[in-house]
């Protein structure tokens, strides 16, 4: 395995040049692997796996039916290498990824309702105050509820 990795690396440098190769490393998130063990593990896992599909966000869905434990044979490599989380998986791929169905996300895309189906959005909680839901009584809610329980007299009809 190690030899194929080295061979592939050398071949890639030959094809793209050193600059292009480093750019690819960055894009693929190899540099992130240095500090992110989870990503590294996914990368290593991915070697020899079958790429089943790529969704519209760029997440890659892999399957390896041969030398992995059953139930751990489907996984996703997120498009965003730095800040990824499970809510980035769109609903059409969710079923496939969690073994609910064997239909891939691309096959299930047609099930999305045309008229009222909204675009999938990841959960942005924790990504900044503007993304956090505040109830209407919360001090940070921009349309905060008016808790004044009386109407004050307005001096409009000044003489």
């Amino acid at each position: 395995m190690a030899t194929t990795l080295v061979k592939g690396t050398v071949q890639a440098i030959k094809e793209k040049g050193l600059r292009g190769f480093l750019g690819m490393l960055k894009e693929e998130g190899i540099l992130n692997c240095i500090f992110d063990g989870k990503l590294l593990q996914t990368k290593l896992h991915t070697i020899g796996a079958r790429l089943v599909g790529v969704d519209k966000f760029g997440n890659k869905y892999y399957e390896n039916l041969e030398d992995t434990q059953y139930g751990r044979h489907r996984w996703v490599e997120y498009a965003d290498k730095a800040r990824y989380n499970a809510s980035q998986v769109p609903p059409e791929w969710h079923g496939w990824l969690h073994y609910i169905t064997d239909h891939t996300g691309d096959e299930l895309l047609m099930l999305k309702p045309k008229r009222y189906g909204v675009e999938h959005k990841e959960n942005l909680s924790g990504e900044g105050d503007e993304y956090i839901y505040h109830s209407k009584g919360h001090a940070l809610n921009p349309g905060q509820k008016d808790w004044t329980r009386y109407q004050s007299w307005q001096p409009t009809k000044a003489q």
């Binding site: 329980r149 009386y150 109407q151 004050s152 007299w153 000044a158």
Partner: protein, 745 residues
């Protein structure tokens, strides 16, 4: 009726039979085996000698009054002997014995209907359970209230009542204070046997105050009896028979009584609920504050139910001497006015005529500066009709220190008589009116001026056929009366003995003369009071050592206390020449009289009328937000208590005047309410003996000779619109609706 009482009685039954088990006894609502054959079990229980019972106290601290000690009879309630006067019902006997009987239709202020059958008890030697509310107690009667027969009978009644009652407690406004809900916890079954379709009844429109959900009605007819007996309107009635029976107004019309809100309280279920309160709150989230009402001079005892900073509703409180357990619609429903048109910041009118919000410091500094520029003679203070005694005391002290005595309370007229206390209070007392047998109403329409006094007169007229003579503009009465005339000349005729009503007064045992406070505003006020005095002197039975039948019916909550504290203007013309006018909530004075160059300070809680003339606005707290003493028309001082916090930057009235006095350099010597009360003690000590009527000694002989001529101008109605009389009620939307729909045109 407390749920706990019912539940404990239900458990007591089996606990006595088997004391060892009672500790571990868990009460279930399902029918117990021993109840399957009640006759057998009661026969077995009968010979058992009654054990020594713990002494019982009458319900709610009730006291038994024996009009004639010889008429006392003894009955046994659950083996416990009680002495009661003759003529009491079985239910009343049980109450004296401390046993609460479940009931729906019985109400101790209404006539007995006996149609709900919930109060069934077992009486020895009676073949069937008897309805205790309608059964007179007989000597030696053995009443059993918690036998299996009684319980079984009540369970049967409850099942029939619940048969056609909708299961909508979660959306019912009565939920939590519903008699049916409470009693079904003790006598209801855990399952229904009714499989047919429930009856439904069309809702009736009773106007803007009472919401009806007639399907919930259990036909107790309390509302019908209340309307005909207490409110004196024949609006409600029973239509149809059997399952088609329903409460209605016969033809589509609104309930036009000034007491209609009370049917909400007496309805044992959620059939009649408050329309403004509908779906607003649940009764268990409300905080009750026991206070008094200030919308008229009666001072009805009320409970303000609040949630947080909001007044959610107003309910009556029992006070036998003043309002019994009723309140008028104005008292009950004006509370939404407390949330509208509120003054919440001190404001100063700028040079451009617009108000600008300023701080208290600036506002008080401006007022003090202008006050110092004005001459003492040109300073005038007017207390409003909702002012409490403390703030009026402070206002008078403050202006006296500024060198003027031109301070009065609106509604007392230009030249009030504050010297003789008997000349401005209701000497008979509101409850004392029940002893009267002839009424002479002079220029007063009690139905709109003081609805609770009117209810008392109606009660008297109904009970004893008392005669009522009325002098004043044609108006609406809900009892029999003679309209004697419209002007003071009729009064003169009576005083001179030339009127047929004279014989009624002279033949009466306890005649009562009620003069309306609207007379205070008349030019010939002294002459009218002199004429009344002549009547009093002429017929010796009006005022005697044991009866004082001379009454003045005041209009506003502040009037009596203002006169007690001596808020009397030095000269009646002072406002026309004023340079500085201090209006403490006075919205009903004639603003055109104030000269254009006068500086007007308005201190109050509502932007009503006077704010448009004001130069400085000082926000004060309303009666629901402060502790204040009010004296009602019979001279009974009572206190309000704060139920909700003040709005915005508002302060208590007396605190504003105290702060202003310090800024103006004439510091008033009191810093606390108790300090101001000890000042009141030196002026009018009777204002501090709360809930105690200080009798005024009548001294007609002390009155100076009156040289005024009586004018022939007929009496005017003192209250034009019953529903809108003061700043709070004028701000209320519900009161505006009422006056649009219900006020008599």
């Amino acid at each position: 009726m407390g749920l706990g009482v019912l539940a404990s009685r239900a458990t007591r039954l089996s606990g006595r039979g088997n004391p060892s088990r009672s500790l571990f006894y868990v009460r279930t609502i399902v029918t117990k085996p021993e109840l399957q054959s009640p006759e057998a079990s009661s026969a077995a229980a009968a010979p058992e000698p009654t054990p020594d019972l713990p002494p019982r106290t009458p319900l709610g601290g009730a006291r038994v009054h024996f009009p004639n000690p010889d008429d006392a009879i003894e009955v046994f309630v659950d083996g416990y002997p009680v002495k009661i006067p003759k003529g009491m019902t079985v239910l009343q006997a049980c109450e004296v014995a401390g046993v609460d009987i479940p009931r729906f239709c019985y109400h101790n202020r209404l006539s007995i209907a006996g149609n709900c059958r919930m109060c069934l008890v077992e009486v020895e030697k009676s073949p069937k359970p008897v309805a205790s509310c309608a059964m007179p107690a007989l000597p030696g009667m053995k009443i059993k209230t918690d036998t299996p027969i009684a319980k079984k009978a009540r369970e049967g009644v409850m099942e029939f009542l619940l048969m056609n009652h909708p299961l909508d407690c979660p959306i019912c406004d009565q939920g939590g204070e519903c008699d049916l809900q409470d009693q079904s916890m003790a006598f209801g079954s855990d399952r229904g046997r009714f499989t047919e379709v429930k009856r439904s009844v069309v809702d009736k429109n009773l106007g803007p105050l009472v919401k009806t959900v007639m399907t919930r009605c259990i036909q107790c007819t309390r509302c019908v009896r209340f309307a005909t007996e207490i409110a004196g309107v024949q609006d409600l009635g029973m239509l149809g028979r059997g399952s088609g029976e329903e409460i209605g107004t016969y033809v589509e019309k609104l309930m036009t009584s000034e007491l209609s809100g009370n049917v909400i309280d007496i309805c044992p279920v959620g059939a009649l609920t408050s329309k403004p309160f509908a779906f607003k709150a649940r009764n268990w989230e409300l905080k009750g504050t026991e206070t008094i009402d200030v919308t008229d001079a009666v001072g009805s005892n009320i409970r303000i139910d609040s949630r947080g900073p909001e007044v959610m509703r107003i309910l009556p409180r029992l006070n036998e001497d003043i309002n019994e357990e009723w309140i008028s619609d104005k008292t009950r429903f004006f509370y939404d006015g407390l949330k509208r048109q509120r003054l919440n910041d001190p404001m100063i009118r700028g040079a451009d005529g617009r108000f600008k919000v300023v701080s208290w410091r600036d506002a008080l500094a401006v007022v003090a500066e202008v006050l110092h520029q004005a001459k003492a003679k040109e300073v005038v203070g007017v207390a409003g009709k909702l002012s409490d005694a403390e703030s009026m005391m402070a206002l008078k002290d403050f202006l006296n220190r500024m060198g003027t005595n031109n301070v009065w309370c609106e509604g007392n007229g230009p030249n009030p008589n504050a010297d003789l206390r008997s000349g401005y209070i209701m000497n008979t007392g509101i409850s004392g009116l029940e002893k009267a047998d002839t009424f002479l109403l002079v220029g007063t329409q009690p139905r709109v001026e003081a609805a609770m006094v009117n209810a008392r007169i109606r009660k008297t007229v109904r009970a004893t056929n008392a005669k009522v003579g009325y002098i004043g503009p044609p108006t609406d009465f809900n009892y029999d009366h003679q309209h004697l005339g419209t002007g003071p000349e009729t009064l003169l005729q009576i005083a001179e003995g030339r009127h047929p009503f004279c014989s009624e007064i002279s033949n009466a045992k306890n005649p009562a003369i009620i003069v309306g406070a609207g007379v205070f505003e008349r030019e010939d006020k002294d002459a009218i009071f002199a004429a009344v005095d002549t009547i009093v002197k002429k017929y010796g039975n009006v005022v005697r050592p044991d009866w004082n039948g001379f009454n003045v019916l005041l209009l506003n909550a502040a009037q009596a206390a203002a006169l007690d504290l001596g808020l009397v203007p030095e000269s009646s013309e002072s406002i026309e020449t004023a340079k500085f006018v201090y209006l403490m909530g006075a919205d009903d004075i004639n603003l055109d009289k104030i000269p254009n160059d006068a500086f007007v300070v308005y201190q109050g809680h509502h932007g009503d009328r006077s704010v448009y003339r004001a130069n400085v606005i000082l926000p004060a707290s309303a009666f629901s937000e402060k502790e204040g003493t009010y004296e009602n028309t019979e001279g009974c001082p009572q206190q309000t208590l704060p139920a909700v916090p003040t709005v915005g930057d508002a302060r208590d009235d007396w605190k504003i005047i105290r702060a202003l006095s310090e800024v103006a350099g004439v510091r008033l010597p009191y810093d606390t309410v108790s300090g101001i009360r000890s000042r009141i003690r030196t002026v009018a000590p009777n204002l501090l003996s709360l809930e105690e009527r200080e009798q005024a000694t009548f001294a007609a002989s002390l009155k100076p000779e009156v040289k005024q001529k009586i004018s022939s101008t007929p009496f005017k109605a003192a209250v034009e619109n019953f529903y809108m009389t003061d700043p709070i009620t004028r701000a209320s939307k519900i009161m505006a609706q009422c006056s649009a729909l219900l006020a008599k045109k």
